[in-house]
Symmetry: C2
Subunit: 192 residues, 2 copies
Amino acid sequence: MKGDQRKKEILKTAAQLFRKKGYNAISMRDLAQALGIKAASLYNHIKSKQEILSLIVMEVAESFTLGIDSISKSKISSIQKLNQIIELHVNITIEHADAISSVNNDWMHLKEPDLDSFIKMRDGYEDKLRKIIKKGIKDKEIADINIEVMLFSMLSTLRTLHLWYSKKQGINKEELCGQMKHILLKGISLDK
Amino acid sequence: MKGDQRKKEILKTAAQLFRKKGYNAISMRDLAQALGIKAASLYNHIKSKQEILSLIVMEVAESFTLGIDSISKSKISSIQKLNQIIELHVNITIEHADAISSVNNDWMHLKEPDLDSFIKMRDGYEDKLRKIIKKGIKDKEIADINIEVMLFSMLSTLRTLHLWYSKKQGINKEELCGQMKHILLKGISLDK
DNA sequence: GTCTATAAAATGATAGAC
DNA sequence: GTCTATCATTTTATAGAC
């Protein structure tokens, strides 16, 4: 089961299809056809359609959780932590662009106990980021703007990076990280 | 047909349900039940499930198109135009928070000719915003960062405002607009 | 304008042959 | 490991009674 190459293909193709039309719009027949087999054959590799969604979404959610935990703990300034969080999102987006679409839009179709686990991870992520911003304001590293607006704005941009990244070529990872840091942390206006 | 109050109720309830689970996850039975009637009764007011989606999505898409057209034409600075675009998004989000969710996530389930029309409006919107940013850079009102990154970052935040706005109370429209302008245009870092 | 009854198609999933 | 055949359920939508 560990080396089931076919299962990996199924998950990869499913993530691609879910990204285009969403979990509910893709039938097992659609998925099978994209793989060149019949729908019934899928069940030799996966237990159910639900399991496919779960494997796709939970893996990425766990990567984000591990990432933010590590950044939270490290002994660096708040601005440096925000820089690392931007890098975390860019890295995961590049590696799991299709899956992120389901993390953003299909998570509500998870079933218990995954649904509860996902929501806890998501809330925990937001809370850790909120604490980093709060400390940054206290230490006068970050402007004293409404913290929830700030949090929302950063997360919106980082979470939807996948919508835009795959369309643009000619920008490498380092350049992208640099631009994102500039825009998210320093703004675009010149009139100060 | 103009004064069909029931039809308006159907569209409003449908938008609420689509927001929670997406167009494909909501059946006509679900919608009917939320309205306290049977599924068959819906068809006295609407032609099909497709028509419901179309009415919800296209109205909001047209509002955005009208708004950006008007802003584009007016004789004000680029930064002032960006300020007005932020106001446009805040206003439409407050008035059509449920519908915006379908505009973001369910538009791909539109059928022709609506699908093509929607995509044209969306591309047109992005292009008008791109031109405003470009002129702002030329006139030295806006920092000379990668224009596509800037465009993407602004739109990501503005388009997902609905995810966040309905959760937070205690912030009024004017305050929200002010904070968004600050974050999107001036950034959050203090170290310059 | 809403109901019951029902058609026609699509869906997730299983059984068993090869 | 994939196939054909099939099942049980759900789905959108229509017809016709009230």
